[in-house]
C-alpha cells in the first residue's frame, strides 16, 4: 500500500491552528504518511508536527465554506484546525482518519523512523534477561534461567528466558503451563535481597468447575517456600469473580491442595471498566461548566481514583507480605498480563530502591511489562477520545504510571526521575517513533524484528541531554522500603496528564525552575568554597613562616 493513495490533498494553505494556551498560528498544512504538519509561512519554522498514530479521533464542523477539524489526541490534547474550502477540509479529515487507524503494525512510523541522534547504547540490548539473571545469581543459587519457552511454544506471551526454581525441570514447567491460563506458569518476578523472599506471577489456575488439580503446579510454587513457612497468593479478583471464572475453566488455588498458601482476594478492575473510567475522567476534566458539584460528582463517578487506590493498596499488601511478614508471594488475576503486572511492578517500586532510578525504572518496565507480555498494542490502540467501541483497549499501563506518580508525590526525594519521565512513557506507550511499545509480547516483537527494524525508546532516553531533562533535582538515594499512604486524602488527581492541556502550567513550571535554581546555586557555591579551600591550603603551605617554624 502506498500512503499517497490515502492522501487526497497533501497540502492546504491558510490553515489556522488553535491550541490550548498558545497563540493561534496561520500556516500551511501538510500531510505525510505519518505526520500532520503545520508550518507558518512567515518564518518557515514548523509549528506543529503531530504523529497520525497520536490521533484518537476527529470531529468536523462547517460554517459556510470554512471547515474546522477538531483533532483529539491520545495524549489528551485537543487542537483545532480551521481549513478554508469544504473539499479540502473533507479530504484532510478523511486522510487523517485513514492514516490514524492503520491496521498493519509494519506500516507504523517506527519502521520508517531514522534517528536524528547518535545511538550511544542500543536500548534493545540494554535489558536482557541474562543480565538480570546475573544479578540474581549473585544473591541466590535457588533459581535458574529456563529456556523452555525459547520458541514461545509453551507460553506465547512469555519471553524466551524465564527464572524458575532451580529444582523444577523443564518437563514440569510444560505440565504446569497446561494448568495455567495462557500457559503462564509461575515465574520469578522479584527477589527481595533483604530476606530472600520472592514474588512470583502467573495466570489463573485452570481448575474448572470440577476442581482439577496439578501436582506439578503445587510442587513448583511450594519449591519457593522455606521449610515451615507459608506464602501468600494475592488474587487480584474478588472471590466472586474468581469463583465465576471456574465456569469458564479458570479458578483459584484451593486450600486443600495448597495448604501452605493463604489466598487474599483484592478487587482491581480490568479491561472495559477501566477504559470507560478513563473516558469519563477525561470528559470531567474537559467539562466547561465551572460547576463544583458537577466536577466532584463526575470525578467520583469516573472511579479513576478508586482504581488508583485499589491498585496501590494491593501492591502495598504484596510488598508488606514480603518485607514485613517475611513471606513469599504469588500474584495472579485472570490472564496475568494486566492487574498482575500492575501489582508486581508497583510492589518493586516500593521495595527496591533500584527501581526508583531512571535506568532501574526502564528495567522494570522491560521486565514486568514488555517481556512479561502486557499487550501494549491492544491496550493502547485507542485512548480517551475514541468514538469506536472499545475492544481490548484499557489504560492499564497509564494507571500503573499514575500510581507511581502518587508514590513520587509522597516521596519527592526518593526517585531519580521526575514526573516528566512518567508523562513521557505515557505518551510513547500510545504513539511513538520508537518501536519499544509495538506488539503485544516478546514473541510478536521477535516476529516483527523490531530490534533490527526500529529504534528503541531507551536508546533515545539514555543519552546525556535526555537524562538531564528527566532527572529529579531533589533525588537523594535512599535504600529503604517506602510505604505510601492510600488514604483518599493522600491520592491526588494526576494534573500533569489529565489537566495538562486544560490549564496553564506557567506558574508551576516557574516554581520548578526556582527549585532547580536553589539547588544548583547551592552546588555551585559548594564547588567554589571547596576550590577556595584548596587554594587557601596551598597558600598556607607556601607560606614561608609556616614552612620554617
Amino acid at each position: 500500500m502506498e500512503f499517497a493513495e490515502l492522501i487526497k490533498t497533501p497540502r492546504v494553505d491558510g490553515v489556522v491552528l488553535h491550541r490550548p494556551f498558545l497563540p493561534t498560528v496561520e500556516g500551511t498544512l501538510c500531510l505525510t504518511g505519518h505526520h500532520l504538519i503545520l508550518s507558518s509561512r512567515q518564518d518557515n519554522t514548523e509549528e506543529l508536527w503531530l504523529l497520525h498514530s497520536n490521533i484518537d479521533s476527529i470531529e468536523k464542523r462547517f460554517v459556510g465554506s470554512l471547515g474546522s477539524i477538531i483533532v483529539k489526541c491520545k495524549d489528551l490534547r485537543v487542537i483545532q484546525l480551521d481549513i478554508p474550502g469544504m473539499e479540502e477540509c473533507l479530504n484532510i479529515a478523511s486522510s487523517i482518519e485513514a492514516l490514524s487507524t492503520l491496521d498493519s503494525v509494519s506500516l507504523m512510523y517506527p519502521f520508517f523512523y531514522r534517528p536524528m541522534f547518535e545511538v550511544i547504547e542500543d536500548g534493545w540490548n540494554s535489558f536482557l534477561p541474562e543480565d538480570a539473571f546475573k544479578d540474581l545469581e549473585s544473591m541466590t543459587d535457588e533459581w535458574r534461567l529456563s529456556e523452555v519457552n525459547k520458541d514461545f511454544s509453551v507460553c506465547p506471551s512469555y519471553p524466551p528466558l524465564v527464572a524458575v526454581p532451580k529444582d523444577i525441570d523443564d518437563e514440569t514447567l510444560r505440565k504446569v503451563a497446561t494448568f495455567r491460563h495462557g500457559g503462564r506458569f509461575p515465574v520469578l518476578s522479584y527477589y527481595h535481597k533483604k530476606n530472600g523472599m520472592v514474588m512470583m506471577r502467573a495466570g489463573q489456575p485452570l481448575t474448572g468447575t470440577n476442581g482439577r488439580r496439578c501436582k506439578e503446579d503445587e510442587k513448583l510454587i511450594n519449591a519457593t517456600l522455606r521449610p515451615g513457612k507459608r506464602g501468600y497468593i494475592i488474587d487480584t479478583r474478588t472471590i466472586n469473580v474468581a469463583q465465576q471464572a471456574k465456569a469458564r475453566g479458570g479458578g483459584i488455588e484451593s486450600e486443600a491442595n495448597y495448604p501452605q498458601w493463604r489466598r487474599i482476594h483484592k478487587a482491581i478492575e480490568r479491561s472495559n471498566v477501566l477504559q470507560e473510567s478513563l473516558i469519563k475522567l477525561v470528559e470531567a476534566c474537559n467539562d466547561q461548566s465551572h460547576n463544583m458539584d458537577r466536577w466532584l460528582s463526575k470525578l467520583e463517578a469516573s472511579n479513576w481514583q478508586t482504581h488508583v487506590k485499589e491498585i496501590l493498596t494491593t501492591a502495598c499488601l504484596a510488598a508488606q507480605c514480603i518485607d514485613r511478614e517475611g513471606a513469599s508471594v504469588l500474584v495472579h488475576g485472570t490472564e496475568g498480563t494486566d492487574t498482575t503486572l500492575q501489582v508486581t511492578s508497583l510492589a518493586q517500586i516500593i521495595l527496591d530502591p533500584s527501581c526508583r532510578t531512571i535506568r532501574g525504572f526502564q528495567g522494570l518496565v522491560e521486565r514486568e511489562w514488555l517481556q512479561a507480555g502486557h499487550p501494549f498494542q491492544q491496550r493502547c490502540a485507542q485512548s480517551a477520545y475514541s468514538n469506536s467501541k472499545p475492544r481490548q483497549e484499557a489504560p492499564v499501563f497509564l494507571l500503573f504510571l499514575d500510581c507511581v506518580w502518587q508514590i513520587l508525590r509522597q516521596f519527592p526525594c526518593s526517585f531519580e526521575f521526575s514526573e516528566s519521565y512518567l508523562v513521557l512513557l505515557f505518551e510513547h506507550a500510545y504513539a511513538s517513533q520508537f518501536g519499544t511499545f509495538l506488539g503485544n509480547s516478546a514473541a510478536e516483537r521477535a516476529k516483527l524484528s523490531l530490534p533490527e527494524k526500529t529504534v528503541s525508546l531507551w536508546s533515545w532516553v539514555n543519552r546525556h541531554q535526555e537524562i538531564e531533562r528527566l532527572t529529579n533535582p531533589l533525588f537523594e538515594a535512599n535504600s529503604l522500603v517506602i510505604w505510601p499512604s492510600v488514604a483518599p486524602q493522600s491520592l491526588l488527581l494526576w494534573e500533569g496528564v489529565f489537566l495538562r492541556w486544560n490549564r496553564s502550567s506557567k506558574c508551576l513550571d516557574e516554581a520548578y525552575e526556582e527549585m532547580v535554581h536553589i539547588i544548583e546555586y547551592n552546588k555551585e557555591l559548594q564547588n567554589k568554597v571547596n576550590s577556595l579551600r584548596r587554594q587557601l591550603a596551598q597558600l598556607e603551605t607556601e607560606d614561608p613562616l609556616l614552612q620554617t617554624p
Binding site: 463544583m292 488508583v308 537523594e476 510505604w483 486524602q489 577556595l532
Partner: protein, 652 residues
C-alpha cells in the same frame, strides 16, 4: 481550680483514631488550662497537651472492653479518643472539661493567664509592632481624595467599627452620621483598600436600611463622594455578596440593598456567597468526611461534594476576583457589603487585597491584612470561634475560608507568597486558642474595654520573631509571579481539599518527604557557604598580600550531604507501612522504635514554649501511621473479622 472534679486519672488509654487496636496507656491530668496525657511507657517521655480553649466538643460513647470512651474534638481539627477505666471517672472528666472548655467570661480565657517571661515594655512593643496607620500611608493615604475621619473616635457612630476610618475628602460629618443611620449597626461605607496607581478604592459597609422604598440622602451622597474620589471613573460598583434571595428577604425586615435608581452612577451586582449558617453546616459535613475511619475513594469524594465546602470556597474567590478586576483592570471603585458587613464582606475584601497587592502576600502583609479587614473592622471572632459559651448559631468558620482561599492561591502560585502553609495553620490555631489577645472579643471597642493590649500578648510579634519557620523557600521578591495582580483560575479542578489543615493531625496521610523542608535546609546551607566563601576570599587576599602572618582557621568541610539529616529524619516515618490489609495480617511490623520527634515533615509545629499544640499524639512512628486501611467495599471477601486469622482462613 474549682471546675476540676478530678485532677488525675490513671490507666487511661489514648486510642489511635483510625485503628483503635493501637493504643497507648498513660495518665490523664486536668489542669486549669490544659488536658495532659502522659504515656506510661518506661524511658519515653511522651506527652500530649490540649488547651481547654481548643476543645470544640466532647462526646461520650457506650462502654467498650477498653473502658469508657471520651472523644475530644478540637477546633484545630485534632480528635483525641480516650478510654477511661471507670464510668465515674469518665463522667467527672467529661463534666470538668465541659465546663473548662466553655468559659463564661473573657477573664477565664487563656490569654489572661498566659505569662511568658516578658516585661511590660516589651509587651507594649509587641503590640506596637502592628501599625495599621503605616499600611494606610503605604497606600498613599491620606491624600487629596481620602481623609482620616475622627467621626468614630469614641465608637459613637458605629460601636463595631474601629476608631480610625478613611472616608472621601468630601464626606462631611453630617453625611457620615446620616449614612451610618441608614446602615445596619451604623456601619457606613468606608475605605478598605486604595490603589494608588489608578485611584480606585475598595470600600465596605453593611446593608442599607432601604426596606421596600426607603432612601437616605446622606447615604446617596456618601456613595457619590466615593465615586468622585476616583477621578478616572464615572461609575462605581456596589457588590452585595449575598445571594439575591437572601437580600430580598432582608427588605421585609426594613433592610435590603441599594436601588440603582436612587444612587447615581452605580452598577449593582449580587454575588451569591452563602450565610454563616450554611458555612457552619458545610464545614461540619466536611469534617465528618475527614474523620471517617477508612473511607473509600467514593465515600470521600461524595462526602466532599455533598458538604459543598469547595463550592463555597470557590464562591468567595470568585467574588474576590470580580472586585480585583473592577479595581485593577477597569479602574472602578467598589463598595462591598453583605448584611452586617463583617463576615462575607471581610472575606471578599481581604481576598481581593491578596490578589491585588503583592504586599499582602508577604508575611507582614498578611498579618496587616487580617488586622485591618478582620480584627479592626469588627469580625466577631469571639462569637464566630466560640471563645466563650454562647449561641451556637453565631459560630461559623468564616475566617477559615479566608485562610483556605489564600492556601488555594498558594497552590496555584507557588512562588508568589513569602509565607508557607505552616504560617496559615499557625494563625488558624491561634485564632481559636485564645493564647494571644489579638482575636479576643468581637470588635475594637470590646478589646479596649478588656485591656487586651495591657494584659495579653500579641500573636503578630510572636510570628514575626519566629518568621524563619514560616518562609516559603520558593518566594523571591523579584519573581514575575510575585509582581502585580494574581489571575487565578477558578475552574473547579483547581480547588483542592486542604489536607494540611483538616487532616493535620493524621500524620500517616501526609507526604513522607517535604520538598519545602528540603529546600529550606539547602538554603540554610547556602547561606553558610556564602559566609565561608567571603571569609575564604578575605583570607586568601590577606595571605597573598602580606605573604606573612596567617591565622589558620579550620572551617568544617562540607563533605556530608547537607540533606542527609533531613532525609533520615523523614524516612523514619516513611519506612512504616500502613495497614493495607484491613487487619488481614496481624503480626506487628518489625520496625524499631524511633525516638519521639514531633517536628516531622510538614507538621506545623508550634515552637511555643508551653507547647500547647503538642503533636505527640502519634509520635510513635509505628502507631503514628494511621491505619487508613484499605478495606474497599469490593474486597470484603478478603476478610470480615480483622482480629481472627482463623475465621479468615476458613472463610477463604
Amino acid at each position: 481550680m474549682e471546675f476540676i472534679r478530678l485532677p488525675k486519672v490513671e490507666n487511661v488509654k489514648l486510642l489511635d483514631r483510625v485503628s483503635p487496636r493501637r493504643s497507648r496507656v498513660g495518665t490523664l491530668y486536668l489542669t486549669a488550662t490544659h488536658t495532659i496525657f502522659v504515656e506510661n511507657e518506661a524511658g519515653v517521655r511522651n506527652e500530649t497537651w490540649v488547651l481547654h480553649s481548643l476543645v470544640c466538643s466532647l462526646e461520650k460513647q457506650a462502654a467498650t472492653s477498653s473502658g469508657y470512651p471520651l472523644l475530644i474534638h478540637c477546633k484545630n481539627f485534632q480528635v483525641l479518643h480516650f478510654a477511661i477505666p471507670r464510668e465515674q471517672e469518665c463522667q467527672d472528666v467529661h463534666l470538668s472539661l465541659q465546663r473548662l472548655s466553655q468559659p463564661e467570661s473573657y477573664e477565664e480565657l487563656y490569654c489572661f493567664s498566659y505569662k511568658p517571661n516578658v516585661d511590660d515594655e516589651e509587651r507594649q512593643n509587641e503590640w506596637d509592632f502592628m501599625n495599621l496607620k503605616a499600611d494606610y500611608s503605604r497606600m498613599g493615604l491620606p491624600n487629596a481624595h481620602w481623609k482620616l475621619s475622627p467621626a468614630n473616635r469614641n465608637y459613637k457612630v458605629s460601636d463595631t467599627y474601629p476608631a480610625d476610618l478613611f472616608v472621601p475628602e468630601s464626606a462631611t460629618p453630617p453625611v457620615i452620621v446620616g449614612s451610618s443611620k441608614f446602615r445596619s449597626r451604623g456601619r457606613f461605607p468606608t475605605l478598605s483598600y486604595y490603589s494608588k496607581e489608578n485611584h480606585a478604592a475598595i470600600c465596605r459597609s453593611s446593608q442599607p436600611l432601604s426596606g421596600f422604598s426607603a432612601r437616605c440622602l446622606e447615604d446617596e451622597q456618601m456613595l457619590e463622594a466615593i465615586l468622585r474620589s476616583n477621578p478616572c471613573s464615572d461609575f462605581m460598583y456596589v457588590v452585595d455578596t449575598r445571594p439575591k434571595l437572601n437580600a430580598i428577604a432582608n427588605r421585609a425586615a426594613g433592610k435590603g440593598y441599594e436601588n440603582e435608581d436612587n444612587y447615581s452612577n452605580i452598577k449593582f451586582q449580587f454575588i451569591g456567597i452563602e450565610n454563616i449558617h450554611v458555612m457552619r453546616n458545610s464545614q461540619q459535613k466536611m469534617l465528618e468526611v475527614c474523620e471517617l475511619r477508612s473511607p473509600s475513594m467514593s465515600d470521600f469524594l461524595e462526602g466532599l461534594e455533598s458538604s459543598g465546602w469547595l463550592k463555597h470556597i470557590k464562591a468567595v474567590l470568585d467574588a474576590g476576583i470580580f472586585i480585583t478586576k473592577a479595581v485593577a483592570e477597569e479602574g472602578v471603585s467598589v463598595l462591598v457589603h453583605c448584611s452586617d458587613g463583617w463576615d462575607r464582606t471581610a472575606q471578599v475584601c481581604s481576598v481581593a487585597c491578596v490578589l491585588l497587592d503583592p504586599y499582602y502576600r508577604t508575611l507582614q502583609g498578611l498579618m496587616v491584612l487580617i488586622e485591618k479587614d478582620w480584627i479592626s473592622f469588627g469580625h466577631k471572632f469571639s462569637h464566630r470561634c466560640n471563645h466563650l459559651v454562647g449561641d451556637p448559631k453565631e459560630v461559623s468558620p468564616v475566617i477559615d475560608q479566608f485562610l483556605e482561599c489564600v492556601w488555594q492561591l498558594m497552590e496555584q502560585f507557588p512562588c508568589a507568597f513569602e509565607f508557607n502553609e505552616r504560617f496559615l495553620i499557625t494563625i488558624h490555631s491561634h485564632i481559636y486558642s485564645c493564647q494571644y489577645g489579638n482575636f479576643i472579643g468581637n470588635n475594637q471597642r470590646e478589646r479596649i474595654q478588656l485591656g487586651v493590649h495591657q494584659r495579653t500578648h500579641s500573636l503578630w510579634s510572636y510570628l514575626w520573631t519566629n518568621r524563619t519557620d514560616y518562609i516559603n523557600p520558593l518566594y523571591r521578591p523579584d519573581h514575575s509571579q510575585t509582581q502585580g495582580l494574581l489571575r487565578p483560575s477558578t475552574a473547579p479542578y483547581c480547588f483542592k481539599f486542604w489536607r494540611g489543615l483538616y487532616n493535620r493531625f493524621d500524620q500517616g496521610i501526609h507526604p513522607r518527604q517535604s520538598v519545602e523542608d528540603y529546600l529550606r535546609t539547602i538554603q540554610e546551607e547556602t547561606q553558610q557557604l556564602e559566609e565561608q566563601l567571603a571569609s575564604h576570599k578575605q583570607k586568601i587576599a590577606k595571605l597573598e598580600e602580606e605573604q606573612g602572618w596567617s591565622v589558620v582557621q579550620e572551617a568544617a568541610p562540607f563533605d556530608k550531604s547537607p540533606t542527609a539529616w533531613t532525609l533520615s529524619h523523614d524516612l523514619r516515618l516513611a519506612n512504616t507501612p500502613q495497614d493495607y490489609t484491613g487487619g488481614f495480617i496481624t503480626s506487628s511490623p518489625s520496625q524499631p522504635k524511633a525516638p519521639d520527634s514531633s517536628g516531622l515533615i510538614l507538621l506545623p509545629q508550634d515552637l511555643n514554649q508551653t507547647s500547647i499544640f503538642s503533636l505527640s499524639n502519634s509520635s510513635d512512628p509505628e502507631s503514628g501511621i494511621a491505619d487508613l486501611s484499605c478495606r474497599s467495599p469490593l474486597s470484603e471477601d478478603s476478610t470480615r473479622d480483622p482480629d481472627s486469622d482463623e475465621a479468615v482462613y476458613s472463610a477463604a
